[in-house]
């Protein structure tokens, strides 16, 4: 039998290696439209952009190592159509038959819908090719405007300002990273970036981008004109679901799957950034964009493809490196009723816990890996906490986190 995986990114690679680790000896075909073997994206906005890591070291495993594991890698080929009845996938150069199919199609940057967004000098960042373009553009740029104060935008801002550029971040919301972290964390990072020299405009409305062929300025709704020779748009991502939807699979916000990662077609699965899945930590269906989700969900899908039935139940976690600061988050902060701060924001080392019904549902840590690791256990275990105890520096978090729930 053949397992075919569409999308050779973090999730696709994980599915391929996991089915092999589980002892599956049939054919494994991993198909990707990028020219590179699977590689890591997180460094694109971090070490790679800074120049402290090169393209070669982003590659997870050389193609030969994958071949040695019996993974047939087909690169530079786009999957164009899935035929659910014939169980085939059309790619640029032919047709591939599957018995089980995994969709690991990832997501692509959301486009900025304002006039001038298609000018030269306006970039987005998803793949290695984008990273290489951005890096070389950054070398010669002076005025950098970043649209979107999310993780990617702020990571790039920190690198650009450290390289001596004039950097402006335009955030549509009332605070940076608003959907992902507690207000205290936004405030702390806002100050950190300003201290580094970045200008941050919140509640920003972009009217248009100007330039003849190359971008020159960005005009805001209030009439302010900001000089720009490089604009990076980082306003979120949309899942690559077109081929799934065209095949008749339901794709409300990503490919709809059940707890084991299976679609309505029992031979088709999805994982990673493209999968809309039931998640205990969200209390609903969600689509997550993180390395953790890509890896853990892919392990679940690999098991399900081999007819095991473990549900996806891994605690979400994420990290973001901005300037000298390391942000680590766990859980999903939707529906928090209150926030508890532990540690000292002034000293640049603290954690904000998101509480709901007396339990930690999420936590954001700044330069506090130990808190973060404890918080992961607390979120996973649904451990009841007393806010004052949690905030008390005398409390040993590790002991608290190790408790068993009744």
């Amino acid at each position: 039998m053949a397992i075919v995986i569409l999308g050779a990114g973090q999730a696709g690679l994980q599915i391929a290696t996991s089915v092999r680790q589980k002892g599956y000896t049939g054919k494994v075909v991993l198909i990707g439209d990028e020219p590179h073997p699977p590689y890591q994206r997180p460094p694109l906005s971090k070490a790679f952009l800074k120049g402290t890591t090169d393209a070669a070291s982003l590659i997870f495993r050389p193609a030969e190592a994958l071949a040695a594991q019996g993974i047939d890698l087909i690169l530079g080929q786009k999957a164009r159509r899935i035929d659910l009845i014939a169980k085939t996938v059309e790619i640029n150069d032919g047709t591939v038959s599957y018995e089980k199919l995994a969709l690991a199609l990832g997501a692509r940057p959301r486009q900025l819908a304002v006039p001038g967004a298609d000018l030269e000098g306006v970039y987005s960042l998803r793949g290695l090719a984008d990273g290489q373009k951005l890096m070389s553009a950054l070398t010669s740029a002076n005025n950098v405007v970043i649209v979107g104060g999310g993780f990617i935008g702020l990571e790039v801002a920190a690198t650009a300002v450290a390289a001596g550029k004039v950097v402006t971040v335009l955030e549509a919301g009332p605070r940076v990273m608003a959907r992902a972290v507690a207000p205290q964390i936004s405030t702390w990072f806002d100050k950190m970036h300003r201290d580094m020299g970045t200008r941050i405009v919140t509640s920003a409305v972009i009217a248009w981008i100007d330039g003849t062929d190359h971008v020159k300025t960005v005009t805001l709704g209030d009439g302010e004109v900001i000089a720009a020779d490089l604009v990076l748009v980082g306003i979120g991502a949309v899942p690559n679901t077109e081929i799934a939807a065209e095949a008749g699979l339901e794709c409300p916000n990503g490919v709809l799957v059940d707890a084991v990662g299976r679609t309505a077609d029992s031979d088709i699965f999805a994982a990673g950034d493209c999968a809309f899945h039931p998640n205990r930590f969200a209390g609903s269906y969600v689509r997550l964009e993180s390395v953790q989700n890509a890896i853990d969900q892919s392990k679940t899908v690999a098991a399900a493809m081999l007819d095991e039935t473990a549900s996806y139940d891994a605690v979400p976690w994420f990290w973001s490196d901005q300037g000298q600061a390391k942000l680590q988050t766990t859980g999903l902060p939707f529906a928090a009723e209150r926030h508890v701060v532990r540690g000292d924001p002034e000293a640049g080392k603290f954690t904000v816990f998101h509480l709901k019904s007396g339990r930690v549902i999420a936590a954001d840590s700044v330069n506090s890996p130990s808190d973060h690791m404890c918080a992961r256990r607390m979120v996973a275990g649904g451990i009841p906490v007393i806010p004052e105890v949690l905030a008390d520096p005398a409390t040993d978090l590790k002991t608290l986190a190790m408790q068993r729930t009744a």
Partner: protein, 106 residues
């Protein structure tokens, strides 16, 4: 080229040649040492690249940084010579380094 040995809990040894500056994690994962998962790709954010330095080598490695020490508390089977292999960068002095692989990463 610097020779590094990885010994599995069952005693099996994988010997790899790394280049100076490369992390031990990169050397291991790019050569299919699956006992090193390295979920975060070297960001010191996951603690799934745990290795145990052989007693005979502990003195010859630089001490772990604060971040690494904190994360090491949370590996599945911590020992006094545990390290995160993404934070260990190969130098000329590491020729012959012996590392033990844990039976699980998390």
């Amino acid at each position: 080229m610097t020779t590094i040995h990885f010994q599995s809990p069952s005693g099996e040894v994988t010997t790899l040649k790394g280049v100076v500056g490369q992390s031990i994690m990169e050397l291991a994962t790019s050569n299919g040492v699956s006992a090193i998962e390295a979920d975060c790709g070297g960001a010191c954010a996951c603690a799934t690249c745990h290795v145990i330095v052989d007693q005979s080598w502990t003195e010859r490695l630089p001490a772990p940084g604060v971040m690494e020490r904190d994360m090491l508390d949370f590996v599945a089977e911590p020992t006094s010579t545990s390290r995160l292999s993404c934070q260990l960068h190969i130098t000329d002095d590491h020729d012959g380094l012996l590392l033990h692989l844990p039976s699980k990463q998390s």
